[in-house]
Symmetry: C2
Subunit: 224 residues, 2 copies
C-alpha cells in the first residue's frame, strides 16, 4: 500500500517536471527570466513586490503571475503599478490547491504577455510545504520569511529553505518588539542550506529592499 502511494507521487512529480521543462522552453524563447517567490501566508511577498515594482527595475520590464486559492487581492494591489499581472486561482482543485504546479502555470501562460516582459515573478500560494515540491520552470527561487514566524522555521520546513536560492527575512521593523534571535535563525538556516544568500528587509519601511531589487536584476541579467 505504501509502495503504491510513493510510486504515484513520483509519477506526479515526473509529469510536473516534464511540464516545467516545457514552460522553461517557452520562457527561453521569449528571453524571459523567472523567479518563483514563496513564503508562508502573510510573510509579505506582495508588499515586497509593491515596493520593488513601484521604484522600477532599471529598464527591466517585469510581469507578475499571482497564485492564490481564491480572489485577486494581491493582483489588484499590484496592477495599480502598471505592471502586467495575471491571476491563477487554485480553488477549482481539491477544495483549493495549496501550491502552484507546472501545469497550473502552463495553463496561465497564454494570458502572460511574455514578449513584453523580461522578468516574470511568480508569487506562489502562501505555504511553506508543497510549493517547494513543484518546479514550475523558474530560473531561481526566493523565499520570504517573516521575523514573526520564529527562528525554528528552517528546521521545521527544511525543503522550502533548502531549495531556495535566496532567503529574504522580512518585517525587520518588528524586531525590537519580538524575542526573535536573528543569529539563531541564520544558524538554523545554515543547518539546512549552508551559506545560502540572505538579506534582512522591511517591506513596510523600505529598509533593505534595494538588495532584493538588485538580486532580481541579477537574475534578469544572468547568462546575457
Amino acid at each position: 500500500m505504501h509502495r503504491t502511494k510513493v510510486r504515484v507521487v513520483e509519477d506526479a512529480l515526473d509529469a510536473n517536471n516534464t511540464i516545467a521543462h516545457a514552460n522553461r522552453a517557452d520562457f527561453d524563447r521569449a528571453t524571459v527570466k523567472v523567479v518563483n517567490l514563496m513564503s508562508a501566508p502573510g510573510a509579505g511577498k506582495t508588499t515586497l513586490l509593491e515596493r520593488v515594482l513601484a521604484d522600477g527595475l532599471d529598464g527591466i520590464r517585469p510581469g507578475v503571475l499571482e497564485g492564490d486559492v481564491q480572489g485577486s487581492f494581491d493582483a489588484d494591489r499590484l496592477s495599480v503599478l502598471h505592471v502586467p499581472v495575471t491571476q491563477i486561482n487554485t480553488d477549482p482543485g481539491f477544495g483549493g490547491e495549496c501550491h502552484l504546479d507546472a501545469n497550473m502555470v502552463r495553463s496561465a501562460l497564454p494570458a502572460v504577455p511574455l514578449d513584453d516582459i523580461d522578468l516574470l515573478v511568480i508569487e506562489n500560494v502562501g505555504n511553506l510545504v508543497c510549493p517547494a515540491e513543484f518546479r514550475v520552470g523558474e530560473d531561481a527561487r526566493a523565499m520570504v520569511c517573516s521575523v514573526t514566524e520564529g527562528e525554528d522555521k528552517p528546521l521545521k520546513y527544511p525543503l522550502m529553505f533548502r531549495t531556495s536560492e535566496l532567503v529574504v527575512v522580512n518585517k525587520a521593523d518588528l524586531l525590537p518588539h519580538l524575542d526573535f534571535d536573528l543569529d539563531r535563525f541564520f544558524e538554523n538556516l545554515d543547518a539546512v542550506n549552508p551559506g545560502v544568500a540572505r538579506m534582512v528587509v522591511s517591506a513596510r519601511t523600505g529598509e533593505g529592499v534595494g538588495a532584493f531589487r538588485d538580486w532580481l536584476l541579477e537574475v534578469a541579467a544572468a547568462g546575457e
Copy 2:
C-alpha cells in the same frame, strides 16, 4: 483527464472520512474530546498551548498530538509541562505532507494514552490550506491567526476560516506596531463564517489566553 482527477480526490476524501469516523469511535470509547488546532506557520499555536497547559485545566487531563513535517521542536517544548505529547512527522510522504489526515492520526493513536486523558489537542502542520480539507475525528476545530498575517487572510484562505468553530487572533501585543485593522479582519471573517466565535489574545504576554482556556474546558465538558 480533469474528471479523473476530481474522482480520485473524492475517493481520497471519502477514505479519509471513513477513518476519521473510526478515530471518533475510539475517542468516544475512551471519553476523550478532541480539538484540531490549525494555523499558518509561526502563528503561535505552540506558545498558546504552553500558556494554557502550564496553568492547568481545572482537573481536565490534557494530551497533545503534534504534527510536523520534520523534527520534534514543539513536542519538546510541551513535554516539559508534564503533559503526554505524541509526535507525528509527515516527512516520509511526498517530500513532507503539508497536513495531518485521519490515517496519520490513526497511525499515532497506539502511542496516545487515551485512557489517561480527557482532552486531546491535535496541533496540525502549519498551513492555511490543506489541514482544513481533512477531518481527523475531532469534536471541534480552532484556528490561530496572527495579526502579523494581514486582514485579508479569511478571504484568501476561506475553507480554513469557514470550517473552524473558533478563530483565535494572536500576537495582540504587536498591534501598536502594525497597520493591522482588527475591525476589517472581523468583517472579512464574517464574510466567510458569519458570527463564528472569536477572541483576541497574546500568547506571549498571556493577555486573553484565559478565554481560550475556557473554550477548551467547554469542549471538554460538552455532552456530559
